[in-house]
């Protein structure tokens, strides 16, 4: 695994470089906006990566909360299975099918929903115990960074195209901003909380934050959106050459996000091991610790 890291870093840098070249040179110029639109190749992939990371944070937090009691774990497990089964069947039923926006296939919606419980179980399997909490922290931190990129590049593009930096009350802008605020408050809580209870409190806050996002979206339903329609499933048409560059760019960003998460994850694990070792040391006492080395684990040495 450790040898994979430098290889992946080199691949990521190459991909990011090539994505930039594609975005600036190969992608055709937009007929209406000119070259300004090219910021989309940074804006949209960052947004997708940020939303994905926030989703990972939510799943990890739910899983962490569920793991606190056996009965809860059972209940949440069955709820996840229920969501998977219903989500797989529902999009094919005629009344639900009529509500799916044009441009989205019911099979695609069904697959996406089925992936949620699958993801839930995989996360629980790959990240046992406290690693779930580290995963939640990592994804929230990196997600906030990507979300910041979205919130900075958005106004940079909006100023020349819309004539304003920010459209107050716009559904997409406001919900992204509120999401950013929620996850910043999540990080602030983690910073300010006492060590022992932080993980449970933070997981509860993450669940509250995730519940809040659809309500934010609902609360600004009345406002018209100025934001361009979603690239995929929004019914809008995008030049296939542009879409190709966009998806390539997203791949590079995903890999970059994964790499940052990975290093942050390992760093946090090491930090906790060191903290535990210090705690052990003070428990054992100065006399014993002067003779023996710190009980650090293999990965920390």
């Amino acid at each position: 695994m450790k040898r994979l890291y430098p290889i992946l870093s080199i691949v990521t840098v190459a991909l990011l470089g090539y994505a930039l070249y594609q975005a600036l040179v190969i992608a055709p110029t937009d007929a209406l906006q000119g070259d300004v639109y090219r910021i989309i190749y940074y804006h949209v992939p960052s947004a997708w990566t940020a939303f994905l990371l926030f989703f990972i944070n939510f799943v990890a937090s739910v899983r962490y909360l569920a793991g606190s009691k056996a009965s809860t774990e059972m209940a949440v497990k069955w709820i996840a299975i229920f969501i998977g089964v219903v989500g797989f069947i529902a999009p094919f039923l005629p009344p639900v099918r009529a509500k799916i926006p044009a441009g989205m296939e019911p099979s695609a919606v069904a697959t996406t929903i089925v992936l949620i419980p699958v993801f839930y179980f995989l996360v629980g399997k790959w990240f046992p115990g406290d690693k779930l909490d580290v995963l939640a922290l990592t994804s929230a931190e990196v997600g906030v960074v990507f979300c910041t990129i979205v919130l900075v590049t958005g106004p940079l593009w909006a100023r020349p195209v819309w004539g304003i930096w920010w459209a107050p009350g716009d559904i997409r802008l406001t919900s992204t901003l509120v999401m950013w605020l929620i996850y910043v408050s999540y990080l602030v809580l983690r910073r300010f909380s006492n060590s022992a209870q932080t993980q449970m409190l933070a997981a509860a806050l993450a669940v509250f934050g995730a519940l809040d996002v659809p309500l934010v979206y609902l609360s600004i339903w009345f406002f018209r959106t100025q934001h361009p329609q979603p690239v995929i499933g929004g019914g809008g048409q995008m030049d296939p050459r542009m879409l190709h560059v966009l998806l390539f760019s997203w791949m590079a960003f995903l890999l970059f996000g994964f790499l940052v998460c990975w290093s942050r994850f390992r760093l946090e694990l090491l930090k906790r091991e060191v903290e535990q070792a210090h705690a052990m040391e003070s428990l054992v006492g100065a006399e014993a610790s002067s003779n023996t080395s710190l009980p650090l684990s293999r990965s920390a040495r």
Binding site: S68, S185, A204, L205, L211, D212, L215
Partner: protein, 225 residues
């Protein structure tokens, strides 16, 4: 079930009695929101026409800030003499405690709103153009939305360093949809330009979602080690 209601009523009556004797939270909230009203009057000085559009926002910002004063006290009071630890080791249902605290805060903030609303009317020369009765469900649902989340996050922030500042940092981002609903709904009623039904339904949804979430997670928060 009976023990649930017994714990709830006992805690609620105790909180109300404490508040009745000391009037700490209520006095602080009242004076605080009075200051906010006065400062707003000085800084805006609007005409009656304009004030209808902005006063919805001012009212709720004042109540939101004032509610934080009461919410901060709600659990801090239980830290003295290790009352909170006693709760945690007792077999009393955690949700009864949570509901008692929420209902208590709801009553305090409602009293505050009832006392402050006439002041807003006087200072801003308000004259409601829409159906005024809709302000009642808006106020009740909006207050519950603030208080139920506030009580939950106060229980959270009481466990952190610098807990006084922590509560608004946690509460405000989550409360944005509710505040938006309250402000937009109140403005809709005051100006009579559009219907407030949507916002009442929105607040109801918000209340149901977060009351359920709080009840589901409060036990975990209280017993977190």
């Amino acid at each position: 079930m009976s023990s649930f209601w017994e714990v709830l009523s006992a805690t609620l009556v105790k909180d109300i009695r404490l508040e009745w004797r000391s009037k700490d939270a209520l006095n602080a909230m009242l004076f605080f929101s009075l200051l906010v009203v006065v400062i707003f009057v000085f800084s805006f000085d609007p005409l009656a026409e304009e004030s209808r559009h902005i006063v919805g926002g001012l009212v709720w910002v004042a109540f939101l800030f004032a509610a934080v004063v009461a919410l901060n006290q709600t659990w801090a009071r239980e830290l003295r003499n290790q009352v909170l630890d006693a709760y945690r080791v007792s077999p009393a249902p955690a949700n009864a405690l949570f509901m008692a605290k929420s209902v208590g805060n709801f009553l305090f903030v409602s009293v505050l709103e009832a006392l402050m609303t006439p002041l807003f009317i006087v200072f801003y020369n308000l004259h409601v153009l829409g159906p005024a009765w809709q302000l009642v469900p808006l106020a009740l649902l909006g207050t519950w939305a603030l208080v139920v989340n506030g009580t939950f996050f106060a229980a959270m922030s009481v466990r952190t360093r610098s807990r006084e500042i922590m509560l608004p940092l946690l509460l405000f981002p989550i409360s944005i949809p509710a505040v938006l609903g309250m402000v937009a709904g109140t403005t809709a009623v005051l100006t009579g330009e559009n219907s407030a039904h949507f916002y009442i339904v929105l607040l109801l949804t918000y209340d149901v979602v977060f009351t359920t979430a709080s009840l589901a997670l409060f036990g975990t928060i209280l017993h977190a080690e």
